[in-house]
């Protein structure tokens, strides 16, 4: 797999992301109680208790005292917790006036705002109370439908399927920058192509996809020199708007959600530049389907289930896909996909050939050409197999192994066919005058491990490029010695 770019899609957790931010930015983030709570929840367990322990203690705590909090068995967790606190600048190291021992003190802003969250006070959070009831209130099903539609439009664009729901230039830029698609030009026509990273992205469950995308969005925003703080704050607040309901939705499936999904509205938006950005961000999120706003000018919007996914994603990073599988792959390389989703067809079409389509199922064929096209596009055989396995139909999951070995092997073999040729740069040595000269030089090159190829009859040999200089020097010395 040498010729193909090998990329790994990395998806940071919130904690990791925050650690990359500079301290000043973090400090200004902590100005907001919601952010503090989110950050607090992201801390390792032990660290949470440490914060709570000193929350109402105004004095810095000496390092020695902190060390004595944990038992010896939990030393590693303790170190991890303290490191996490310091990385996020929740705890800052200070030197006590005595100058002897250093101590930790809880960040002032963080302390103040966390206390505010607990005790109350401060300005109230945004609400739509003053707007009165929404005439166009939406229920859960509609919100879900909307969210899925928007998100699938994005994915459609990614797989490059012909779809009339185009996406805006901003999001296209974002996709390009995050390396999910590649833009090329052919005959004056712009075309986009999914990259290997993009394919890996498609394989993620939607929660991870949204989180990855939000992270990329933040980077994108940052690269444009926009102020991250209000946007991060907005995202945190948005994710909070639903956190309280996540568990509810899971445990009581029958509860109608609309009541609890009270419309949230950014209250009192002043028209300074900062909040314009938030509004812009809102429009982007609206396009992705993270929020639902009836009209661009509408004064309220609803967070959708995708934002809930961000929140739950932040809490446990290994959220598995809840949807059941739909693919049956047979040993005759046929694939039956029991789904109505255009998107899934489009993804499958990346590496299969479509044979028949029926209302609820389509039949595809894995062929040598289709697999190799996929490989040319940067998709690996393992990714194809992983996708099939991850979306396998329950009936197929009963098999052990899930994918028949013949099928898996064949896909790998087809992919490997692309790798028959390996390219290596080298230097050709020819026109040796004597067989002996040739043999001396060949033996020397072979000892070096630099000999790529030789033909003794024609007295040709190829030496790797790195070793060329050394071989040449040897040859000159040899000539001189033999000449004298």
């Amino acid at each position: 797999m040498n010729g193909i770019e090998r990329v790994k899609l990395e998806c940071k957790s919130l904690h990791q992301y925050l650690c990359t931010l500079p301290q000043a930015l973090l400090e200004s983030l902590y100005e907001h109680p919601a952010t503090c709570t989110v950050v607090f929840r992201e801390l390792p367990q032990l660290a949470k208790y440490y914060v709570m322990r000193v929350l109402f203690v105004d004095k810095p705590i000496t390092k020695v005292a902190v060390t004595s909090w944990a038992t010896n068995e939990a030393r590693s967790e303790h170190t991890e917790a303290v490191a996490a606190l310091c990385d996020l600048h929740v705890w800052n190291e200070v030197i006590l006036p005595g100058g002897v021992s250093s101590a930790y003190s809880l960040s002032f802003t963080f302390r103040k705002n966390l206390q505010k969250t607990l005790i109350g006070g401060g300005e109230s959070w945004s609400s739509t109370a003053h707007l009165g009831p929404d005439k166009h209130a939406k229920d859960v099903a509609e919100l879900d439908k909307y969210a899925t539609e928007r998100w699938e439009a994005l994915l459609h664009f990614l797989v490059g399927s012909a779809s009339n729901s185009a996406i805006s230039q901003d999001l296209q830029d974002l996709l390009v920058q995050s390396g999910l698609i590649r833009v090329g030009e052919e005959d004056g026509r712009r075309y986009t192509n999914i990259t290997a990273k993009g394919f890996q992205f498609l394989l993620l469950d939607s929660g991870s996809q949204v989180w990855f995308f939000v992270l990329e969005y933040l980077n994108w925003v940052r690269d444009r020199g926009m102020n991250l703080v209000p946007i991060l704050r907005f995202i945190f607040e948005l994710s909070f708007s639903s956190v309280g309901k996540v568990s509810k939705v899971c445990s009581l499936p029958n509860v109608t959600w609309s009541q609890s999904t009270k419309a949230k509205f950014l209250q009192d938006l002043p028209t300074d530049g900062k909040d314009d950005r938030v509004l812009q961000c809102l429009q982007h999120f609206r396009e992705m389907g993270l929020v639902m706003q009836r009209k661009r000018t509408s004064r309220r919007f609803y967070p959708t289930r995708l934002v809930i996914n961000i929140a739950s994603r932040m809490q446990n990073s290994s959220s598995s896909a809840l949807s059941t599988g739909f693919i049956i792959a047979e040993t005759n390389y046929r694939i039956y996909a029991y789904t109505n989703s255009e998107l899934q067809y489009a993804i499958l079409a990346l590496f299969c050939e479509m044979l028949y389509r029926f209302p609820n199922v389509c039949v595809l064929q894995l062929t040598r050409e289709s697999v190799q096209t996929a490989v040319v596009n940067g998709i690996t055989a393992d990714q194809i197999l992983h996708f099939i396995r991850a979306n396998a139909h329950p009936d197929m999951l009963k098999n052990d192994p899930v994918i028949a070995p013949t099928l898996a092997d064949q896909v790998r073999l087809w992919a490997m066919e692309r790798d028959r040729l390996t390219f290596q740069e080298g230097v050709l040595y020819n026109q040796f005058l004597a067989q002996h000269d040739f043999e001396v030089l060949r033996n020397y090159a072979r000892e070096l491990g630099a000999l790529v190829w030789e033909n003794a009859a024609k007295r040709n040999m190829i030496v790797t490029k790195d070793a060329h200089d050394q071989v040449k020097r040897y040859w000159k010395r040899y000539k001189k010695e033999s000449g004298t």
């Binding site: 032990l46 909090w69 009270k262």
Partner: protein
């Protein structure tokens, strides 16, 4: 310490009117101050994880009342009132607790409420039932770790001994940890409860330190507390009072009589067991010797007390 594990905490707050009234008259403690601290503690608990579940029970001298979740509204209130954001969620919880607390306080107390103890055992039984229901509801998901925190003010009542013991055993069986924070005198019953369920027993010396005690010691999960945190210099619990209360006069006894059939404990010999009505008709000699067989004063638990006979 699986982060996905859900936590259930039931806080039992002792609101014995007699004890608090006395303290308030003496100017030593005010119930409202403690209640404020308790609310902050509960908010902190909710802040730890969004899945954390909370219930609050007020233990009056003749009744125990659910302050949260409010009993009358039931489930639907729960789901619809979870506010839009966390801050609001706290507010909803706090308001519910405070309003039902106010109602409880303004109801006043009647003649029959004038007792020096409060219905801790009853409240704990309520708490266990609540925990049981919650865990049943979550059946499909992973096991929840559940905990009861008793904030006890009034003195122990030996009359509750039986029900208390039953509650402790039930808690032990359900793997519910009982923590207790004692404001007044040491409570032998709670010491036993904490010791047997692996909980933490603490006596809080001053009302000003109450919140710090709560945040430091009682916010932590029992497992974490056991494994990785050092909470006190002395490892073991100093002398747990394991005396049992007799069934006839409800007084704590170190030495007593045990029915050989049902293991009831009596402080005096009686020819017929009042619990299982077994008639003891041994000859006077055996009777004498039986009388002399005494329960060892301080053994490890009441169960063994009884089985030794």
């Amino acid at each position: 310490m699986d982060p996905g594990e859900q936590q259930v905490l039931v806080v039992i707050f002792d609101v014995s009117p007699v004890w608090w009234g006395l303290k308030s008259l003496q100017g030593q403690a005010h119930i409202t101050k403690f209640f404020d601290s308790l609310i902050i503690f509960m908010n902190s608990y909710l802040m730890l994880h969004s899945d954390n579940k909370l219930a609050v029970i007020a233990s009056h001298s003749t009744k125990s009342i659910f302050l949260y979740p409010p009993p009358q509204a039931g489930n639907e209130q729960n789901s619809s009132e979870y506010g839009d954001c966390r801050d609001k969620h706290f507010a909803v919880v706090d308001n519910a607790i405070i309003s039902s607390f106010k109602t409880l306080m303004s109801d006043g107390c009647e003649e029959k409420d004038m007792r020096s103890d409060s219905l801790i055992a009853g409240s704990m039984a309520n708490a266990l039932c609540y925990i049981h229901r919650i865990t049943q509801e979550l059946e499909s998901r992973e096991r929840a770790s559940s905990r009861i925190l008793v904030v006890k003010a009034a003195d122990d009542a030996a009359s509750q001994y039986m029900s208390f013991m039953n509650v402790i055993f039930a808690a032990q069986k359900e793997h519910v940890v009982v923590d207790s924070c004692v404001l007044g005198q040491d409570s032998g019953l709670l010491q036993q409860a904490c010791d047997m369920t692996g909980g933490l027993y603490l006596k809080v010396p001053s009302q000003y330190a109450f919140l710090q005690y709560l945040l430091t010691a009682f916010l932590t999960e029992p497992e974490l507390r056991k494994d990785s945190l050092v909470l006190s210099r002395t490892k073991s619990l100093h002398s747990v009072d394991y005396r049992a209360a007799c069934f006839c006069h409800r007084c704590l006894v170190e030495v007593g009589f045990v029915c050989s059939v049902c293991l009831s404990i009596f402080c005096q010999f009686s020819p017929i067991c009042s619990t299982c009505e077994t008639v003891f008709r041994p000859s006077s000699l055996v009777l004498k010797s039986r009388k002399k067989r005494k329960v060892p004063s301080r053994s490890s638990s009441p169960c063994t007390d009884a089985s030794i006979k």
